[in-house]
Symmetry: C2
Subunit: 386 residues, 2 copies
């Protein structure tokens, strides 16, 4: 069976993008990715669009995106896996190459969330929880869900509000080096700690923003990749899992079972261990989520996430740098785009093109960790330079 590589990447500016509609926004990253891959658009056999939808007017984003980019005629569909929609799109495009359907496929992640007001957004995201039992009956929204995780982690392992704020400070530190990030300003620990309480112990600076944005990767079979580029980045391990949306049915509140499962599958398929990873992105929709990710991914033992933060192990220069693009927190989180944006960042890092936020690449291995809902979906993907 052939191998599959990322051969082209594109990324729009994330933020409040009232200047473009969904087709134009997607096109910004599609154009870059097609140019970067040096591929003829007629050779792209399959276009998978990752988008949760519901925020913007066009209810069929795949058609709108494909048509505006001049890709009509290719196979196309939208995929949705909540906040992991982008990774689901990458996996579907990857499968379409492995299955022999096409030599070249594209995954586009796009979302335009700021067309609705914030309360509506909070409701739309809340519906992504356990709809009947927790959203409809208890009025749970996402800050409240992740606050439960934070409280459990603080209670069980002595993690502090300051530890969480440190993750926010780190996100803003690297967001300031990413010209496409929604927030490009460093913040102090004091500013994060004193920010408005949203759902105790989570404060404003513990939460990612609502964002518009798009990201695109062009994938190719081994044969096509060797023809198209000298710097392919190979998809080496694809892990995914799902779990109940119902927090009352979870066994643990200090980690996500689906993420642990997905990571185990990805490591096993790629035949690598957590310690082999040079650079990672983690799904930090809230700071507690990044901290749990360290543990779920095996970057440290369960309960030692806060220690990793305190000791700077996930900073540039640390043992495994995480979210050097600013993460969801500072880069922004346009839901469908996020998973693809992670693939773009890891590709940039493995190519050595990340500029003043470049991680040292020793083994040539990168990882993306993308969660949907409160851990309903988890996608972990291992990328490799070789």
């Amino acid at each position: 069976m052939t191998r599959v590589a990322v051969v082209g990447i594109g990324h729009s500016r994330f933020g409040r993008r009232t200047d473009v509609n969904i087709g134009e926004l997607a096109f910004e990253s599609i154009k870059q990715a097609v140019d970067d891959a040096g591929v003829d658009r007629n050779d792209i056999g399959n276009v998978v669009v990752g988008s949760a939808g519901g925020w913007y007017e066009e209810s069929l984003p795949a058609v709108v995106v494909g048509e505006y980019a001049g890709l009509s005629g290719a196979g196309t569909m939208r995929v949705e896996a909540a906040c992991a929609s982008g990774s689901a799109a990458v996996k579907a495009a990857y499968n379409s190459i492995l299955s022999g359907e096409t030599e070249v496929a594209m995954a586009v992640g796009v979302e335009k969330m700021t067309e609705v007001d914030t309360p509506t957004s909070v409701e739309l995201i809340g519906r992504a929880g356990s709809y009947t039992w927790e959203f409809e009956n208890y009025g749970m929204t996402f800050p409240a869900y992740y606050a439960l995780y934070a409280v459990a982690h603080m209670n069980e392992f002595g993690t502090t509000q300051e530890d969480l704020s440190r993750i926010s400070v780190k996100a803003h530190k690297y967001g300031a080096r990413n010209p496409l990030a929604q927030f490009q300003k460093e913040i102090t620990l004091e500013k994060a700690m004193r920010s408005q309480m949203v759902a105790w112990p989570l404060k404003l600076y513990d939460a990612c923003p609502l964002s518009d944005g798009s990201a695109t990767v062009v994938l190719a079979s081994e044969e096509a990749a060797k023809r198209l580029t000298d710097t392919p980045v190979w998809i080496r391990g694809v892990g995914y899992s799902s779990d109940t949306a119902n927090l009352s049915r979870r066994d643990s509140y200090v980690g996500l079972r689906a993420a642990v499962d997905a990571a185990a599958r990805a490591y096993s398929m790629a035949k690598v261990a957590p310690g082999d990873i040079d650079i990672a992105t983690a799904h930090d929709c809230f700071t507690i989520a990044e901290l749990m990710a360290y543990e779920d991914l095996g970057f440290c033992k369960k309960g030692e996430g806060a220690k990793m933060v305190r000791e700077g192990e996930t900073e540039l220069g640390g043992r495994i740098p995480v979210n050097l693009d600013g993460g969801l927190k500072a880069k922004g989180h346009p839901i469908g785009a996020t998973g693809v944006s992670m693939a773009v960042e890891i590709t940039k890092q493995l190519r050595g093109e990340a500029g003043n936020r470049q991680a040292p690449i020793k083994r040539g291995l990168g990882l993306t960790h993308n969660i949907g809902g409160t851990g309903h979906y988890a996608y972990v993907t291992v990328y490799s330079r070789d």
Copy 2:
């Protein structure tokens, strides 16, 4: 590379299903399909849910469906390709087996459209047209779009309103033999012709209804299929294409280019010709759509669709029976479920399990034709007993 077979099928009753929520509705067909396949649910590695969404409260149907059916832990995502979402789900599940991801995968199509009122539904479907130019600017809705096709076909080929009504009479004739159909009552040509005008020349009986329903197929690799069943139905050709949503940019109004392309791909992959097909389902969201399908699929020459109807060539006993399950018109059209429902019907027919609507199976070949939007998406799939 392995071959992929349908090894289990399930189908809920279509219609107005206020008695169930989306998870329960999906479960009706999932349970049947799992029982029919005789597979352990832990062996199902991937669950793809086809659903357009927007009509019902749960905005993440894949998680809700997976959880209610006890399938948490499998890979899962929702796919959407407008009214072809079900076929996109079948293709994604098929690819997940071909790619080596899993030996057994499931495609579930589900929609619950009657939770909103009819005007809202018409608006939701209208948004699936060319959003900016035709829906927002001109207020086009789907009956209006398909009326344009009908007028063009009548003008160019002398097709009549009576020809269209005959397709409706045929749909109801076979719907009356399908205990899961939304409408199980035969109608007369006169009744169809005298029904309320919706968008000239399309009348109430030219249009499919709004429906709730689900359908499921379990797919397996060649090795697993041979272990699981004595009556596998193989997926032999998968064709798909896409086109502009903007009718003003189409070259022709008497057929769908995407359907012609998709059919060519499916026939070529399966190495069969249109005349080899024993039994087909066609996407008859409006009667004119079924008539165009005959021509787009090569069942007759361009312009001769009406002749096929007049001569009963697509009836039981005719040259190529089409929509012996009642079609979208009488069986119902729960958007995400439709493509999977077609796969279920063709599997039943090729197995010889279709009872009093069983087609004679000579070459062992069946075909599904599933359209999204006004021809933005087309999926044509060829199934084979051998």
